[in-house]
């Protein structure tokens, strides 16, 4: 009781500020590692937030409930509300907090400054501090596999792409799948529809139907719902891919493969690092090689030789023998981007806002 009052007075007098925050979090620590997660959507959105949530649960299961205490908060808007949610978690004794949406970057940075002893992990951003790391996945590696299968399997040579929000990650995905579709099928054409949302089943279904009406017989999606697959199924001879989750209920057709976000191993590793004191900040970008990006089962709807080609590419990317962005590659305006044999550096990829040569239309801005 005495302690509480003193803390309150210290804060109210605003004399201690930062150190008041520090004391509180140190005080509240116990033996279990307390792990906080904040999500931008509801944990049952079927997409982004749900995968982080499920990965968090898998992490707890793997490490044991006697070792880890999980605290979650969903539907947290990006901005000051996120800052408060994370502060709340830190005050309540969280040792590590995962901020699982890009828009949490600056709020997480602010909270990290106030709580030097608490570790922060931010997904898909680029800012780091001594106690704030960031992590992201090389989804474009999965897109290369998708593009290869799409290029081989289209008969109309028209491929539809349902794009989410115009940020580098999405642009990278479009480029990667286009490059690899084109490589195996020079006649291929891409139609891209931008939805400016990550999840909106009604809009996604509309977009898929529009693309199918335009003659596309392969639909790629960067949005999170199964609506495009449902539209492909209704149309008949159209194929698609699972996105973020396996979406196996649409296998073997229209879903012929999938890109799966698999955060669980990373969460396990990082929480374990907090437990044994070895946690250090970093900025990692993991892909097929570590399993952060996985390709879901390639179904029998895909011809055996195409399946083999896709699997070989998975192996080549995983081993580092092949990089999906290898020259010669030109930008959309025809200027040279990568010379023969040159491989894109991570900096350029991270900030990619241009289309490669052959894609039509503009990246919206």
């Amino acid at each position: 009781m005495h302690m509480k009052k003193r803390t309150f007075l210290a804060g109210a007098a605003s004399a201690i500020g930062v150190s008041a925050f520090g004391t509180v979090s140190a005080m509240a620590q116990d033996k279990k590692v307390k792990v906080g997660f904040i999500y931008v959507g509801p944990v049952n959105d079927g997409g982004w937030s749900q995968h982080h949530h499920e990965s968090a649960l898998a992490m707890v299961k793997a490490l044991g409930e006697d070792k880890v205490e999980l605290v979650e908060q969903d539907n947290v808007p990006e901005g000051p509300d996120a800052e408060r949610a994370m502060t709340q978690m830190a005050l309540n004794g969280c040792d590590i907090i995962f901020a699982t949406s890009f828009g949490y970057m600056d709020p997480a940075m602010n909270v990290a400054k106030k709580f030097p002893k608490v570790k922060f992990e931010h997904a898909t951003g680029y800012k780091t501090a001594d106690n704030m790391a960031c992590y992201s996945a090389r989804f474009y590696e999965g897109r290369a596999i998708e593009g290869t299968i799409a290029g081989r399997m289209t008969t109309t040579n028209k491929i539809g792409y349902i794009a989410a929000v115009p940020i580098p990650e999405v642009v990278r995905g479009i480029n990667s799948s286009y490059i690899h579709a084109k490589k195996v099928n020079p006649d291929v054409e891409f139609s891209v529809i931008w939805l400016f949302t990550w999840l909106d089943p009604a809009k996604e279904a509309d977009a898929a139907r529009t693309l199918i009406e335009q003659g596309c017989d392969v639909i790629l999606q960067h949005t999170d719902s199964t609506a495009p697959l449902a539209a492909a199924q209704a149309a008949g001879n159209v194929i698609g891919f699972g996105q973020a989750g396996d979406m196996i209920e649409y296998a073997p057709k229209p879903r012929v493969a999938s890109i799966i976000d698999n955060w669980a191993p990373y969460y396990e590793e990082r929480v374990k690092a907090v437990a044994d004191g070895s946690w250090e900040t970093h900025n990692v970008w993991e892909g097929l090689s570590t399993g952060m990006v996985k390709i879901g089962e390639i179904t029998d709807a895909v011809p055996a030789e195409v399946k083999k080609e896709a699997e070989d590419m998975i192996a080549a990317i995983s081993s580092g023998a092949y990089h999906p962005f290898t020259g010669p590659l030109n930008k959309q305006d025809g200027s040279v981007w990568l010379k023969e044999g040159e491989v894109a550096d991570d900096g350029t990829l991270a900030g990619m806002t241009f289309y490669v040569e052959g894609l039509k239309g503009d990246v919206p801005s």
């Binding site: 509801p42 808007p77 408060r84």
Partner: protein, 360 residues
């Protein structure tokens, strides 16, 4: 049997009692909801209403209360002027967004210049942005008799599109590696709406909210315009005889509400939020409508209502993370508050009579 009987005049006492009653009923019904979700209702209600004020971490929550209540109060006071006169501006959210865009626009245009006049200019620009956006439904109403409820509401969605476009286009941070979102104004001293005293939550927006509440009180009680506003709401015909020009009143009320919402948006983007991003607006403009009515459209009532609403948000979030309640349950809880307020409002205008059951 229960029977409703219209009161000859709305009850003064009850108009003060009903908001409190609504809060109490919300606590009971909310407690039942939390119990149904398998949580201890007493702990949940305590976490929401008590802990942020008097709990262990009150030193953090109390300032947050001001941060959250500031924009709510500022917007709600603007709205209340129109609501009193029967002018229904439902689009404060859009005016809030435009204020943020205009305010941040000034800052980003000046970046990286450091000068004392940047912040005041941002305040003016923010107010002007909100004012302009509110003028669209106002002028359409005055000129063509369109419905201001629909037009102002629809303009919220237009504003959201504009905001999204700004965050990936014109205002995108050139040093942001292609990611959406503007520069963070918290890192631009001349534009930063910082806390005036560290760790108190007191920023210029909160100061503005308090000042505006006082001004609104004076306006409504001491100024001819305030008299006209009240008269128009209570007796439109009498108002016309008294020389009130309805179109002028529409322009003034909508414009003031827009300017205040715009200022709120500007203070938010320059302070707690820091940057223009697609998810910048989180519904202050809509919540402020609840705050205005919860506060009985009275400036000081609105201040109290704003603080109470902020408390349900902050306590609600605390309950979410401490008790692992789903976010949707907290939203239902907040919805209940408005629902019960409207329901018990009946008591202000009607009285309940117990009548003997008539035999058939």
């Amino acid at each position: 049997m229960l029977r409703l009987e219209k009161r000859p005049q709305p009850s003064k006492t009850l108009s003060y009692v009903t908001p409190v009653l609504a809060v109490l009923i919300t606590m009971v019904a909310g407690g039942a909801l939390f119990a149904a979700l398998g949580k201890d209702p007493v702990v949940a209600i305590r976490t929401i209403f008590w802990d942020p004020l008097f709990g262990q971490f009150a030193f953090y929550y109390l300032p947050q209360l001001l941060v959250k209540a500031g924009p709510l109060i500022l917007i709600a006071i603007g709205l209340s002027l129109g609501f009193r006169a029967g002018i229904w501006n439902i689009g404060a959210e859009g005016q809030y967004i435009l204020g943020a865009i205009f305010g941040a626009g000034v800052a980003l245009a000046c970046y990286p210049l450091e000068a004392w006049w940047i912040f005041p200019l941002m305040v003016i620009a923010g107010a002007f942005g909100g004012f302009l956006w509110a003028m669209i439904p106002a002028i359409l109403k005055v000129r063509f008799g369109t419905n201001e409820i629909l037009v102002s509401l629809m303009l919220v969605y237009v504003a959201e599109q504009l905001l999204a476009s700004m965050s990936i286009g014109l205002m995108k941070n050139p040093d942001g590696y292609g990611f959406p979102g503007s520069r963070n104004l918290q890192q631009y001293p001349s534009a930063h709406n910082a806390e005036l005293i560290p760790d108190t939550g007191l920023h210029w927006g909160v100061v503005a909210a308090i000042v505006v509440a006082i001004l609104a009180y004076i306006l409504l009680n001491r100024h001819i315009l305030g008299f006209q506003i009240r008269l128009t709401g209570e007796a439109p015909r009498a108002a016309r005889f008294a020389g009130v020009k309805p179109p002028r009143l529409v322009l003034v009320c909508m414009g003031t509400a827009g300017a205040l919402a715009g200022m709120a948006g500007m203070f938010e983007v320059a302070g707690p939020a820091g940057q223009i991003s697609a998810g910048f607006n989180t519904g202050y403009g809509f919540t402020a409508i609840i705050v205005a009515f919860l506060g009985r459209l009275h400036p000081f009532g609105i201040v109290l209502a704003g603080l109470l609403m902020a408390l349900t948000y902050i306590g609600g979030e605390a309950a979410q993370s401490a008790l692992q309640l789903p976010g949707a349950a907290i939203q239902v809880f907040q919805g209940m508050l408005l629902f019960f307020l409207l329901a018990v409002d009946l008591l202000t205008n009607y009285r309940i009579r117990l009548t003997k059951r008539e035999t058939a």
